[in-house]
């Protein structure tokens, strides 16, 4: 049977909620449409019957089962994409993870080291010490080294083991050992010295390696 567009209004009409104009329109319709009248009439019968006799009709009948629990957030999120799309997303995410984890260590290695060992220098410039070094015939009178461009001041440190014996600053690439310090240098003992080059405002330009020397017996 072809569905009549007025059919949807039947319940509302029977409940008296259709409103006057629409009710009149609906009534006029079922006066002209036998199938709609049939449906309306039957629906009214059913409705009235259940209202009146419902107690006995439904007495022995189990109550309606409640609706299943509301759709969880998980289900709703899952429903955002189709299964195929979820697989694609997961694979893409996995690939990205592999790439990131694979590349990250490499990135680490290119990070510059911020601590200096004795051999390393700032800006790759080495400060080469010239003399004294190794065995020397007598206590050295002067210390000299290769100049570093841009240096405003050099600092020299003379040490015996970990004990600093003397330290001084000079703008030149050479310095004379004071007599007082020279006199302290003992034959057969090992000493080390180091020079640091500084630019204006105290910026460290270069550090030499610690060079050792020994005064011959």
């Amino acid at each position: 049977m072809r569905k009549c567009p007025h059919e949807v209004k039947i319940d509302t009409y029977l409940a008296g909620k259709l409103g006057e104009t629409e009710s009149v329109e609906f009534e006029d319709h079922y006066f002209n449409c036998p199938p709609c009248f049939q449906k309306t009439y039957e629906r009214n019968e059913l409705m009235t019957f259940i209202r009146r006799e419902g107690d006995s009709v439904f007495a022995a009948v189990p109550a309606p089962k409640p609706a299943p629990a509301k759709v969880s957030l998980w289900d709703r999120v899952g429903a955002l994409l189709t299964p195929k799309q979820w697989v694609t997303a997961a694979v893409t995410a996995a690939l990205l993870l592999v790439v990131v984890l694979g590349v990250a260590p490499r990135l680490h290695r290119t990070v510059p080291a911020f601590t200096f060992s004795g051999d390393e220098t700032v800006r790759g410039e080495t400060l080469a010490l010239l003399s004294p070094s190794g065995d020397v015939a007598a206590a050295p009178a002067t210390f000299s080294w290769k100049p570093v461009r841009g240096t405003v001041e050099y600092t020299i440190t003379l040490a015996s083991g970990s004990e600093t014996l003397w330290t001084a600053t000079t703008p030149d690439a050479t310095i004379t050992l004071p007599d007082g310090v020279k006199a302290k240098l003992a034959a057969g003992a090992a000493y080390s010295w180091q020079v640091k080059a500084y630019a204006a405002q105290g910026t460290l330009l270069a550090t030499s390696a610690k060079t050792a020397f020994k005064v011959a017996n």
Binding site: E7, V8, D11, V24, E27, D28, Y30, F31, N32, C33, P34, F37, Q38, K39, T40, Y41, E42, R43, N44, E45, L46, M47, T48, F49, I50, R51, E53, G54, S56, V57, F58, A60, V61, P62, A63, P64, K65, P66, A67, P68
Partner: protein, 172 residues
């Protein structure tokens, strides 16, 4: 115009009856008289040529019915102010027939699948709104209407099988 007057009466008696009972109230004893008056008036007008097919026959009769109902209610209101109403007792024979039909329908409803029975229970017995029924059962409101419609169809079939049709003169 060639209109079969008997056919008109047969076709429209149930429709007019339904409308009149809704307007006057189900327990009003005058409804049958009003229905007859309406039908008689309609026939008269067709015979005298008052109705010339300007509208459909259905609309023509609906118009007569609406007017008669309005008049009746006005009259009734006047009368009510003057004297108390006396209700006729229902015919005992009709009552037996009614009970039998009721029992059959009750049985039929009980045999429906829960899917269809539940909507009738919630929608008509508990008188919940369509949306509330939908929420309770976890289905769309449109589905509720579908199920009610289908339940009605099923019940009609069940009753027909027991050689008792659901349709007929306006229910008692």
């Amino acid at each position: 115009m060639d209109i079969d007057l008997d056919q008109i009466v047969v076709q429209f008696r149930p429709v007019v009856g339904f409308k009149v009972r809704r307007a006057l109230g189900g327990r009003n004893p005058d409804w049958e008289d009003v229905v007859n008056e309406i039908l008689m008036q309609a026939i008269e007008k067709i015979k005298t040529g008052d109705f010339r097919g300007e509208s459909s026959v259905g609309t023509f009769i609906y118009t007569i019915a609406s007017r008669r109902i309005v008049d009746y209610i006005r009259q009734k209101t006047k009368v009510l102010r003057e004297a108390p109403e006396v209700h006729d007792l229902p015919d005992p024979h009709d009552q037996v027939e009614r009970d039998e039909r009721a029992e059959l329908l009750a049985k039929a409803i009980r045999t429906l699948k829960p899917k269809y029975r539940d909507v009738l229970y919630l929608y008509y017995y508990k008188e919940l709104s369509r949306d509330e029924v939908a929420r309770r059962l976890g289905i769309a409101p449109a589905r509720v209407s579908e199920r009610v419609n289908y339940a009605q169809k099923l019940l009609r079939k069940l009753l027909e099988r027991r050689i008792l049709t659901f349709s007929g003169p306006p229910g008692d």
